[in-house]
């Protein structure tokens, strides 16, 4: 089966997933960023007491905040989060996920189970890791750093 076929038929759960980091609405932006940094992840999900997602805070919002007034970094994260959290069932196809992300300019998709509970986070990177994982012979053989020409002339 080719890569195109795989993307069209394989379910979202085959993608590389990130562990979901959740914070409470009262957490400060600074604390949320610290959690992101420790997890090496670009986004946190803000949840209510019952664990339902309320919103998301990500690196893009952080830039916007810092370019404005850096004093806002101590505000509660609920004040600056985006409510635009798009969730998808883990049984949807990868092609649907790509179409959703491209159509709505999203970087992250929250993966939910049958009960609507958020289980993991995936996104553009998850898709790329999927391609690399399924085609290591084409992709991983590529050089990391390569020069078109030599810096110095060979020979005398």
């Amino acid at each position: 089966m080719g890569l195109r076929e795989n993307l069209l038929t394989e379910p979202v759960m085959k993608l590389a997933m990130r562990v979901l980091i959740t914070v409470r609405p009262s957490t400060t932006v600074r604390q949320a960023c610290e959690a992101m940094r420790q997890a090496k992840l670009g986004a946190v999900i803000v949840v209510d007491d019952a664990g339902h997602p309320l919103g998301m805070f990500n690196e893009k919002l952080l830039i916007r905040l810092m370019a404005g007034d850096a004093g806002q970094l101590d505000d509660p994260v609920s004040k600056h989060m985006t409510h635009n959290v798009v969730c998808m069932r883990e049984t949807g196809t990868i092609a649907q996920l790509i179409a959703t992300m491209q159509g709505r300019k999203l970087r992250w998709i929250c993966v939910v189970d049958a009960g609507g509970k958020a289980t993991a986070l995936t996104g553009l990177r998850g898709v790329m890791e999927y391609v690399v994982e399924h085609h290591p012979r084409s992709v991983k053989v590529q050089p990391m750093r390569a020069n078109l020409s030599m810096d110095q002339r060979e020979g005398a």
Partner: protein, 169 residues
């Protein structure tokens, strides 16, 4: 795949070194494009580039205004010297923003970025992003002058092109 018998050449006869070559077989056109096309089939413009020496504050304002996730810093010759991205802000700038705001961005950017050339394949860009962990890769010409930037969104857009004809997507 049929394995061909290698015929022994007669003495003095020219042997074509490619006579035994089997070209790679691809399952579909997306895989073929991944390995055979030039990386320029992926959208790589517009992009955001700035001269080095600007302050962190200026670069952040630029990123926020232009709504970009990464800025390539170039020297006078338009050759990339570094990349400043959202992750650099999170990791290096956030905690020391008050002190760093008026320092040149060169202090906190990622130096000596991995670049790709127009003759590389899309597979190479994927490898740089996934294995190397870089979200944005500058595209440079043979003289190492910046001509574009390829990021995760654009790469995913390239994959998407191969199934836009499917209904419901």
């Amino acid at each position: 795949m049929v394995k061909r018998e290698r015929r022994k050449p007669a003495p003095g006869e020219f042997e074509d070194p490619l006579s035994n070559y089997d070209p790679p077989v691809y399952a579909d056109e997306l895989e073929e494009s991944l390995c055979e096309d030039a990386v320029t089939v992926i959208e790589h413009q517009p992009f955001s580039a700035m001269r080095g020496g600007q302050t962190v504050r200026e670069v952040l304002a630029h990123m926020s205004q232009e709504n970009v996730a990464c800025v390539v810093l170039v020297d006078d010759d338009n050759k990339p010297t570094g990349v400043f991205s959202e992750r650099d802000v999170l990791n290096r700038v956030l905690d020391h923003y008050a002190e760093l705001a008026d320092h040149p961005v060169d202090e906190v950017m990622t130096h000596d970025p991995v670049v790709v050339y127009p003759t590389d394949t899309p597979a190479r860009v994927l490898n740089v992003m996934v294995t190397g962990g870089f979200r944005h890769v500058p595209l440079v010409d043979a003289d190492r002058r910046l001509i574009g930037v390829i990021g995760a969104r654009r790469t995913t857009g390239y994959l998407q092109r191969y199934f836009t004809d499917i209904a419901g997507l």
